[in-house]
Amino acid sequence: MRSAVSQSEDDFSGVVHVYKPFRAGLPHLGPYFREAWRRRAFASEASRAKLRSTQSDTVLGQLWNVLNPLLLAAVYFLLVTILSSRAASDPNYFSHLLCGLFAFFFIANSMTGGAKSVVKAGKMITNTAFPRMLLPLSEVRTALRKFLPTLLVLLVALVIGPVKLNVIDLVAIPWFIFLLAFATGMALLLATCQVYFRDTSNFLPYVNRIWLYASPVLWYSEQLPDRLRALEIFNPLFSILGGWSRIIIDHELPLMSETLLAAAWSFGVLILGAFVFMSRERDFAVRL
């Protein structure tokens, strides 16, 4: 009679679950992350299915994922060239624009995807107990998958363009960890926010647009007027994207202050996002 229960005792979910009072605060981090890691296939499969359903896995779909940011880059290039003569005189400008814009879109896509991730999965959250963090993480993966083909375009631009490749570019690989950490942290924060305020995702396009203009994507971080210098530490993307472009376009090692600031912002936001999300996620089932 008991075979059904005892047989799976050695199995992962054959264990005894004890549910105790739990209000705010973090769950036990060890079991939480172990469980999230064990179910990581869910996050990757959800992301894969999403890419499939938006045709992003087809050749033309991939092409569109590249073409869309590329066309936007062309639009901004035109705009900036008309508005300011300085950018036009700089042969590296278009490469800088591609480099910053693609990275910015990765972060922006993680934010918009992450914001909707929990609310969208409403029925599943009321039916199944699983680490909810997998939902926004899956969206970050989707954004990353859309970012990778644009990196190829950037590579081509660097090979045939005026900037050229350089050994310093390899520093971009560890620097990318800052982008990833920041994007993940923002996705977690916004996913939580959206549960309590469903209009969060309505504000996002405007926030992202303003953020783009306020970050060194359309302009170089050195171009910031002195009277605004004091404010640069308040924009995380200033150091994160500023350093990104400095490495890839200027072939310079990032400044010490820039590195420390980027590290503080990206991991600060990641830890804050994870803390906010994990301490609120048990509440999601009654809020959806």
């Binding site: 229960v5 799976s8 979910s13 679950h17 004890v18 549910y19 209000r23 029925k123 699983f130 509440d283």
Partner: protein, 260 residues
């Protein structure tokens, strides 16, 4: 049937569940700001379950009856680990499979097949386990080609057939079902009931929330009646249904015995 020496599959000890939620259909920052301006709050504290204790032993089927808002769904969600108890403790032994929301699916734009895989992965099954069960699930649902079509093309009956098939074919030790059969047709209900009974014969444990008192009496080995979060009665299904019917002052009739 119940051996006292074995610990119960589910043990609910003095559990209370209170949660705060909003009554707004779609809470927004805009409305929050406007309400703050008027000094009103729409957040309510809901005492859904109050000091409830019961055990469910392996191989038994517990039916839960009660009026709307009695805390039935809340207690089942707590057993599933979705809602934490505010006080008390719940112990669950074994792998749990749940069917707690109508029209369970991850994304209606994805096919039934994709949703089955995603639901299974989220519930902690491996891809190989799900794939090995998929044929069985697909046969049981008789959905055929529909499984490869986006779920938004499904009727509500098809939705519930698929959700039920997934929950029941994953070989759970404990199956939690909340009002899941009401959307299906008569044939599906019969088939679902038979499948559930076969699970019970394999000594799996089941908790079953339903307003269909006849089905409940037929399927359950024991029952509890909740009212406004309190445990009113516990006993054989016949006793509990009788007490509950008397309380709501509706003699068992065709309308209460079958879900409409």
């Amino acid at each position: 049937m119940q051996s006292v020496s074995n610990p119960p599959s589910i043990s609910v000890r003095d559990v209370s569940i209170t949660y705060r939620t909003t009554f707004e259909k779609r809470p927004t920052l805009k409305s929050a700001v406007m309400r703050a301006g008027r000094g009103e709050r729409l957040i309510r504290e809901i005492e859904a379950v109050k000091n409830v204790s019961f055990d469910v032993h392996a191989g038994s089927v517990l039916g839960i009856v009660g009026s709307n808002g009695a805390g039935k769904s809340t207690i089942v969600r707590a057993i599933a680990g979705i809602l934490p108890p505010s006080s008390g403790e719940i112990q669950v032994r074994g792998r749990v499979s749940t069917l707690l929301a109508l029209g369970v699916g991850f994304d209606a734009n994805l096919s039934g097949h994709e949703n089955v895989i995603l639901g299974g992965l989220a519930a902690g099954y491996s891809r190989a386990e799900i794939e090995s069960k998929f044929e069985e699930i697909s046969d049981w649902t008789e959905l055929g080609d529909f499984l490869e079509m986006p779920m938004r093309a499904y009727s509500s009956g098809m939705y519930s057939r698929l959700a039920f098939a997934v929950a029941i074919h994953m070989e759970p030790d404990i199956l939690l079902v909340d009002e899941a059969l009401s959307a299906g047709d008569a044939r599906f209900k019969k088939k679902a009931t038979e499948k559930m009974m076969s699970l019970v014969r394999e000594a799996r444990t089941m908790v079953f929330v339903s307003h269909a008192l006849a089905t409940l009496q037929e399927m359950c080995t024991e029952a509890i009646w909740l009212d406004k979060g309190r445990l009113m009665e516990r006993g054989t299904p016949a006793e509990v249904v009788k007490a509950y019917s008397k309380f709501v002052d509706t003699p068992p009739s065709a309308a209460t015995l079958e879900d409409v």
